[in-house]
Symmetry: C2
C-alpha cells in the first residue's frame, strides 16, 4: 500500500511556506516564496498551485489526501481569508474554492495560529493536554485556544485573535485600523518600533544599532544585539516581554489553560525575551491561577509547526 | 410521583441568595442574608444550612436532588472557594465538603458567573447557542464562557475571570492586589469610584450627587440620577460603558461568541449605561467580527439567573 501524503501551507504576511507531509507527521519536502511580493490574489493562487505541483512531481507523488492551510484571518467554516491586515489582498478571499478549483483536492483552511496550536496538540508539547494556548509571534501576533481537547473556532470561525486584543487603550496604531493592539507592541514590527522609540530616548547610545536605518532594523538584529549585551536591545526585549507577559496573564483569565506555548522568529532571541516575559507573566497572573499554568516554548521547530498544523487540520475536518 | 426539587445558592460579596427550584426551573421559594456580615466561614456555613432547612420545612419538602452553588472563585473541580477577593473568608474554603457534611446532600460548586452563564444557557437567551459569553456586573465583574455548547472550566477549574483581566496597565488598584483590572473600573464599586473622581474634576457641579458622602454613594443612586439627566451621573456611565465595551470587544477575540449577555444591578440603569457600552463595543470590535456578535441583556431576572444557574449545575455534574 502506498503511503498517504498531504500538503500543509503556512500563509504568512512575509512568506508562504509549503510542505509535503507524510503520515508520521514528517515534512519530507518543502518550498517557499514571498507572500509580500504578491498583490493579485489570482496570481498568488496560481503560484501556490504551481509550487504544490512541483513538490508532487519532484517527489514522484501522484495522489494526496488534501491541503491544509493556516492563514491570518483564515476562517475554518467559510474557507475564506477575511480582510487580513497583514496581507496585501483585501476583502474576502475564497481560498478554499480558488485552490480546490486549481488542484482538484480537498482544501481545509484555518487561522494560521489555530493551525500552529493544532500542530502542537498533535505533534508537540500539547500532546495529552486538554487546555492550552498557543501564541505565535511573527509579522503579526496570533493565537489558538485548545479547550477540552478541541480547537476553538467560535461562532464566526475566527476565534483566537489575541494579537488584536487591545493591550494599551488608545495606544499605538495597529495595522488593523484600531489602536493599542497587542500585535502593535510585540510582533516583529512592534519590537522594531519599540527599539526605535527607545533609541530616540537614549541620545547617548552608541551601540551596534546606533547607525541602522529605521527601515533596515529587524527583530533578528535586535535579538542578536541583545544576546551580545547591547543595552538598547536588552531594554527593547524587557519591554516586549513585559507586554507579552501581561497579555498572557490576561489570556489565562479566559480559559485557565495548563500551558501557554510560544513560537515565532523573535522568540529565537531566547532568555533576553523569555526571561522578562515570564517575570511579567508571574507579576500579572491572578493569584488563583498561580501554579496551574506555565509558559513554554513550542516543542516543534518554528518553521515546521505551522506546516504540520495546517496539514493536521485535514484529519479534523 | 413526587416532584424533584433542588437548591440554588448565589454567594455574592454583599448578599447570599438561596432558592428552592422545581424541575421546570421555577424558583418556588427563596430567602437571603448578608454575606458581608459574616467573617467566620463555619458560622457562615451554619447559616446557609439553617436557611436551607427552613426553606425545606416551610415548603413541606423532605428530599432534594442536591445543592448547586455559584460563588466568586468557586472551583468546579475542587469544590473550594479559592481566595475570593470580594469575600471576607480568605484561603481555600472547602464549601462542598463543609456543606455536604451539614446537610447530607450532593453539593456542586462553580464560579458565580459560570453559574449565571449556565442559567442563561438552560433557561434564558443562550438557549440553542453554541458560543456565548456572560458578563456579570455587581460587587465584582465576573464572566462565564460557553464554547461548543459547554461551559468552560479550564485546567484549574476557574476559567472565565474576565473581571480580572487587566484593562488599564498600572491603572486603578483592584481588590485582588493587582492594578488596572476591569473590575476596578466597571463593578458597582468601580462605578462609584469613577463618579467620585469625576466629581472632583467638576467643581461647578451642584446636582443631586453633590452632597452625597463618598461612603454613601451607590451605583443605584448614580443610575437613578443618570436617568434624571444628571450630568455627572451620565458622564460616569459613559466612561463605564466605554471601558466595559472595550473589554467585551477584547473578549470576542478569544472565543468569537454569538452574543455577549450582560446582567447585574448596575445594568438596571438601562440605556444610559448600555448605550455607551454598545457604542464602545462597536468602535473597538475587530472588523472580522462585525455582524457576527451582539451585546444583549440577560433574559432572566437578575435576581433569578444566579440561583437558577447554580441549581442547573446539578444536572451537569
Amino acid at each position: 500500500m502506498k503511503e498517504q501524503y498531504s500538503i500543509g501551507i503556512d500563509v504568512g504576511g512575509t512568506n508562504t511556506d509549503i510542505g509535503l507531509v507524510n503520515e508520521k507527521g514528517t515534512i519530507v519536502a518543502r518550498t517557499n516564496f514571498s507572500t509580500a511580493e504578491h498583490n493579485d490574489i489570482n496570481v498568488y493562487m496560481d503560484t501556490i498551485a504551481e509550487k504544490v505541483r512541483s513538490l508532487l512531481v519532484n517527489n514522484n507523488i501522484t495522489n494526496i489526501e488534501g491541503i491544509g492551510i493556516g492563514a491570518p484571518n483564515g476562517n475554518y467554516y467559510t474557507g475564506c481569508i477575511d480582510n487580513a491586515p497583514n496581507l496585501h489582498f483585501g476583502g474576502n478571499i475564497k481560498v478554499k474554492k480558488l485552490l480546490e478549483s486549481r488542484l482538484g483536492v480537498p482544501v481545509v483552511l484555518s487561522n494560521d495560529a489555530n493551525a500552529a496550536a493544532y500542530g502542537e496538540f498533535i505533534y508537540g508539547g500539547g500532546r495529552g493536554m486538554k487546555h492550552f494556548l498557543m501564541v505565535t509571534v511573527g509579522t503579526g501576533v496570533g493565537s489558538g485556544f485548545v479547550v477540552d481537547g478541541k480547537l476553538i473556532h467560535g461562532h464566526g470561525g475566527a476565534a483566537g485573535e489575541l494579537g488584536h486584543s487591545i493591550l494599551i487603550p488608545d495606544g499605538r496604531q495597529c495595522s488593523c485600523g484600531r489602536k493599542g493592539c497587542l500585535e502593535a507592541y510585540t510582533s516583529a514590527r512592534g519590537i522594531c518600533r519599540t527599539c526605535w522609540e527607545l533609541r530616540n530616548e537614549m541620545p547617548e547610545y552608541n551601540g551596534v544599532l546606533a547607525n541602522v536605518d529605521k527601515d533596515e532594523l529587524t527583530s533578528q538584529m535586535i535579538g542578536e544585539a541583545a544576546n551580545n549585551g547591547d543595552a538598547l536591545a536588552l531594554k527593547t526585549f524587557e519591554l516586549t516581554g513585559h507586554w507579552l507577559g501581561l497579555a498572557c496573564a490576561n489570556a489565562v483569565t479566559f480559559s485557565s489553560p495548563e500551558a501557554i506555548f510560544l513560537m515565532g522568529g523573535p522568540l529565537k532571541a531566547g532568555d533576553v525575551f523569555v526571561g522578562p516575559l515570564k517575570k511579567s507573566f508571574d507579576e500579572h497572573l491572578l493569584n488563583i491561577y498561580k501554579g496551574t499554568v506555565e509558559i513554554r516554548l513550542s516543542e516543534l521547530k518554528a518553521n515546521d509547526v505551522a506546516i504540520l498544523g495546517a496539514a493536521a487540520l485535514l484529519k479534523n475536518k
